[in-house]
Symmetry: C2
Subunit: 372 residues, 2 copies
């Protein structure tokens, strides 16, 4: 172990309380987990800003109250600068990334099947969580920072045919929609795919589903994003407006799969279900801060044998496939780059809903590039 | 056309208003649909009493208000006594049955695929519905009656290796659980199957799932039916009682498929979901009179990639498979027989929840037998 490795100083944008989301994160030094033999360390070059970052900073999901200070960010790409002795698949100098999950038990049925994202002991989030498999009790810190340290199992090499700045938001946002599109056969068994909500996740869903060969229908509350949806690949846009029944008339049973990427409250799930063909799937990937499914009447599930389910980020394998697919199909994420120093400004803009459609923080000190 | 055919007098137990369910049905003559070339006529020998009969008579689902007088009953078995000239698969003298659906468009994608129960134009129920494909506008009348007339497409021969009195409740109740058990791989991909509610549907679900080779867990609100569940084949009984979280502790992620056959209000769906392994399915086949899914938080769908869906009765093919399966596996439905003349008494007892687990009305005048 070299001197520089042991002396590396971890600093990042810390959220100190619920107001941090209003542009009040503070650049702060912190202590990462103890370095384990199966850990790696990255010089952060890029970190995407994910909706979850904001929900967590503001304690909107109610799980982060006792976890301040937090350093959020779980769409991390950077240069490998330290490799534990048990790590085989990465070496110093590689460009690698980690997504929203940075650890799991690695022992349960789900983990053994390569579905670490459904670990029966629960996942360890890349920020605002506690490690248990190694460095038990240590808090996880994310990528609005200069360095990241964590389990190599969840750290993947970034393919060379993809811009690492665009790979960053795929580590969480991209794979979160890629995984269910793949699971439910977008473009194959599910030829007609609907995407509810054209935002950070939705923009990826339209891009990926289109590249998979599906006919994509964008479903949006207003006309604001009609043009964008079409540019992203949507064949059709349905604007729900204030009268969802009228808006959906004539579109009943026209879709095989719907990805609900919006996290708006009181979404008209019953109406969405009416768009599905028998045996179709509605998959929720966005969660409102106040959530339940009061708008679903069991009759609407029964009458056409349709399914409501959810999908959580993606496994390590899913992320690898997502990156490969994006590289092979030349998927261009719509990314706006902010210098790492302007993280507060970027968060405030994201919170205001201005993103079209992902923001990425760039750490030029570690080789991140402000231009593609 | 012989004289007897044209002069056959249709009579049945008519529900005149919402109070009929309290034992006030009246034996009444009525006019069936016009006989079409693809219709058949049955002498009713047996008619099961289904929970839906009671919901419909009492207008509990809110769809029957303008449909009195009704003659309910959609688990009908009897002797074929008239066959339209276009009917190939039945002849006079056959023992045949019809379930909860007696017509559909026969043209849409679902119908063409042999999934008439998900017809895009909606199904025509065996009672309390209006025909449209033939005899447009005529009301459908069910099997608490001396005769039944309707489309042969939905009328199936009863295999000879099954007691026709036991076949009757399989035409609706049986196939309603058989179809999703088959669809979701009970005994094969779904080794561990839960059945919520040990009632008319639930008793069939335990019988069928066990015969399919699944390990069945009965999930019941009270201990009242523990013994019955075990006799039906359940390996395990979980009683939810008043503290469902405590009851389910240690059983998390232990099931692949849950059939919710109860129609109790305010079922703890979130807790049921906790019993599912990742990718598992919870399938609703019973509908409460006041229904929505307020107790489902999307997080619980997302965190383990589980599905909520519904299943509606079964297709013609499903019913045929269900009957064949029941005959081949010697499934013994728990049936109590009532003489047709005592239909009011049987309905009142059913409404009181006394059935263990299906009642069948027997028309001895047409050859129905009060003993197995």
């Amino acid at each position: 172990m070299s001197t520089t490795q042991t002396q590396r100083k971890f600093e990042g944008w810390a959220a100190m309380d619920e107001n941090s989301v209003k542009g009040q994160m503070k650049w702060t030094e912190y202590e990462p987990k103890e370095f384990a033999d199966d850990d790696v360390e990255l010089e952060v070059q890029y970190c995407g800003i994910c909706g979850s970052d904001l929900h967590t900073m503001s304690n909107g999901w109610g799980s982060a109250k006792d976890m301040y200070p937090q350093v959020v960010g779980h769409e991390i790409v950077g240069k490998v600068v330290r490799v534990g002795k048990d790590v085989k698949h990465l070496k110093e100098g590689d460009v690698a990334g980690v997504g929203a999950q940075c650890d799991s038990c690695l022992e349960c049925d789900s983990c053994k099947k390569g579905e670490e994202n459904y670990c029966s002991k629960g996942i360890v989030g890349t920020y605002c969580a506690k490690f248990s498999r190694t460095s038990s009790g240590s808090k996880s810190y994310g990528g609005y920072a200069n360095f990241w340290r964590g389990p190599a199992h969840f750290t993947l090499p970034i393919p060379s045919n993809i811009d690492p700045a665009e790979a960053a938001p795929m580590m969480c946002g991209g794979v979160t929609v890629f995984a269910p599109l793949k699971q439910y056969g977008a473009g194959t068994t599910a030829k007609d795919v609907g995407v509810v909500g054209i935002g950070g996740l939705g923009h990826f869903a339209v891009l990926f589903a289109t590249a998979m060969g599906a006919n994509v229908t964008a479903i949006s509350h207003s006309h604001k994003k009609d043009e964008d949806a079409k540019k992203l690949g949507a064949k059709k846009v349905i604007v729900t407006g204030d009268d969802v029944k009228a808006a959906f008339k004539g579109h009943e049973r026209s879709l095989d799969l719907i990805i609900v990427s919006s996290n708006a409250p009181n979404m008209p799930f019953d109406a969405y279900l009416s768009l599905l063909r028998p045996h179709g799937h509605l998959v929720i990937v966005g969660v409102a801060e106040e959530g339940s499914l009061p708008n679903v009447h069991p009759f609407n599930l029964i009458m056409s044998n349709v399914h409501i389910s959810g999908s959580l980020i993606g496994s390590v394998k899913d992320i690898a496939e997502c990156l490969k697919f994006a590289g092979d199909h030349n998927i261009k994420a719509w990314v706006k780059r902010y210098p790492m120093k302007d993280a507060n400004e970027a968060v405030v803009s994201m919170k205001a809903g201005d993103a079209r459609y992902r923001y990425v923080l760039v750490n030029e000190e570690h080789g991140g590039k402000m231009n593609a």
